[in-house]
């Protein structure tokens, strides 16, 4: 990397982390919302 490796690799590493976090948190958000909806349905069914 011509002496710039300590700047270039952290950028790509951080980008990877941000993309992975986005995907993980979106899936988790949906899963939690689904659980809450199921719980609400169970309560309304008695």
């Amino acid at each position: 990397m011509g002496g710039y490796a300590r700047y270039v690799w952290p950028c790509f590493g951080f980008a990877c982390t941000v993309l992975a976090w986005n995907l993980w948190s979106a899936r988790r958000y949906h899963a939690k919302a689904r659980q809450r909806a199921l719980r609400a349905l169970a309560m309304s069914d008695g």
Binding site: Y4, C11, F12, H30, A37
Partner: protein
């Protein structure tokens, strides 16, 4: 003519369409980002002035683009929610905010890591950097404002208003390098007629722009499904949707 538009107001329709679109967006994103990363890190030659440090552009420029694109989307969705009282407009705005904020943070961090070897400093109160930092604060403001009200409807309207007012910052970010003296380099890719890059550098970069945009689409679909369920928990259609 407007039937498609009004169908987007239907939560079950949005929930179903988002589920269909997410894997397509994710596949397109994986292909485009894969090509962009390999092209940018392996096949693109070093820049004659910036050497290999220029390769940071492959994550910095697309994340900067996404930060503005997501904010504009959030404002338009908020405006649709306010003007037409379409609940799904507010749902899209709420789902977009954390994604946009994360891309803004990525643009700031990668820009800072690029600035150190090029300008000799991680941070300068330069117009482009400062306006991008303001964008991050706007995202945080919008995300904090929505749950600050007991009535979710009022929270949605307040967040939409703030995002609409804040959209004025988007052209300021874009044109800051033209309007003021800036450390930040001028447009590189936006000059579509005559981009100041050879094809071996440009194509991977354009692919990264496409990949980040598709990735945003995929994450938005996933997050939107959660947002719709949270808002429609009591609706009858949810029973079928969550049990399937």
């Amino acid at each position: 003519m407007w039937t498609w538009f009004y169908r987007l107001a239907s939560p079950p329709y949005v929930y179903r369409v988002a589920a269909t679109l997410a894997p397509w967006f994710l596949t397109a994103a994986a292909l485009a980002i894969g090509y962009g990363v390999i092209g940018g890190l392996v096949f693109a030659p070093p820049d004659y002035q910036q050497g290999d440090a220029f390769r940071i552009i492959y994550v910095h420029a697309p994340s900067g683009w996404m930060s503005m694109f997501a904010y504009t989307t959030m404002s338009i969705a908020g405006a649709i929610g306010l003007i037409w009282r379409i609940k799904m407009g507010h749902a899209v705005a709420a789902a977009t905010a954390p994604i946009g904020a994360s891309f803004t943070l990525l643009a700031l961090v990668t820009g800072s890591l690029w600035g150190r070897p090029m300008w000799g400093t991680y941070w300068a109160w330069d117009p482009r950097l400062t306006s991008e930092l303001i964008l991050l604060f706007l995202y945080v403001g919008v995300m904090s404002l929505r749950p600050a009200f007991e009535d979710p409807g009022r929270g949605d309207r307040a967040a939409a208003l703030l995002s609409i007012v804040g959209v004025v910052n988007v052209p300021i970010i874009h044109y800051s390098v033209v309007w003021w003296n800036s450390l930040h380099q001028g447009a590189t890719v936006a000059k579509l007629g005559k981009p100041s890059m050879p094809g071996s550098m440009l194509w991977p970069l354009l692919s990264m722009f496409l990949g980040f945009t598709c990735f945003y689409g995929a994450v938005l679909c996933l997050r939107l499904r959660g947002e719709v369920l949270n808002r429609e928990r009591q609706a009858n259609w949810v029973r079928e949707a969550v049990k399937s």
